[in-house]
Amino acid sequence: MLNYLWGFMILTGMLWGIANNNLEAVTKGLLDSSAEAITLGITMAGIMAFWSGILEVGNRAGLIEWLSKRLGPVLSFLFPDIEEDHPARLPIAVNIVANMLGLGMAATPAGLEAMKLLQQERGSREEPDRASDNMCTFLIINISSLQLVPVSMIAYRSQYGSVDPAAVLGPALLATGCSTLAAVIFCKLMALKRAVRRR
């Protein structure tokens, strides 16, 4: 996907530059932005290293497991038909907690594990290539974005001269709340629709 997008961006820029006869500006833009990317990488390295360090402290102290176990009521609300002892429960909780903390590296493996277990545990009369209800709920909640601290955004803002780079945190939390709320309402409406149809 990115291969086409990137190729399309580069070629469009070049052709547009030729059509408008400003290839000098295109060349200058090319040189400037590639240099800028390296500067950005160097300056954001500090905050990224610090934040990853802090998250690793939490990770090794068992913070993810500790928080996941406290997620029980939330899971029971979102997935009413996944029982307490369902094997997919823990990876789902770990995925949600890791996403909230911004630990993408821990979130994705747990999420894939959850999908695998949801696939294995489903009834044999269901089609295996059709998403189950729980898979749909899980993925929609996951995509609604759960991250509490968008740390790379703070790094970019500070690099580009913001007077208050962290000012994005409160608004981001509120907006993430809105998108996740919309996702939860949507999933609940779908469940309601199924319940009505089954009756």
């Binding site: 997008l5 090319l30 102290a61 998403a131 898979m135 968008p150 981001a172 998108s179 949507f186």
Partner: protein, 173 residues
Amino acid sequence: MISWISRILVPMIVSYIVGFGMLSRRPVFDDFLAGAKDGLQTVIRIVPTLTGLMTAVGVLRASGFLDALTIWLAVPAAWLHVPSPLIPLTLVRLISNSAATGLVLDIFTRYGPDSFLGMAASIIMSCTETVFYCISIYFGSVHVTKTRYVLPGAMLATAAGIAASIAIAFFIS
């Protein structure tokens, strides 16, 4: 209230995690160092991606294409009540995180990170996910092809996040 959360969130999470680690009797600084090393490796890994995509956006900007795109999109943007420089960002955001980052940094350069557009772009990046990428890796991993209502649901959540971002950015700037 919102700016209060912005101010206390990072100190609160940092002290909570360090406190949690110390109470669990972990060697917190050693753990920190291991994580910080991983963090640096992550940065090294993303710099090539960032270089490629920031350059692509830089080329599009310098050629005048982004300005033309903003003008073409003015009509649908007005209809959707979305500022037109944000439309390419919201579309690319669905496909690629790093390409969207390139567009956000372009918005920061043009309008400043604290402007209405800079703030709206910052919030949009923080409350949305790469919808198509997530759907393809998660369903691809279990060979599910009939995705049912996942795409509409994910798009609805993303639209709600974008609408909230623009409203909040408008309200605070």
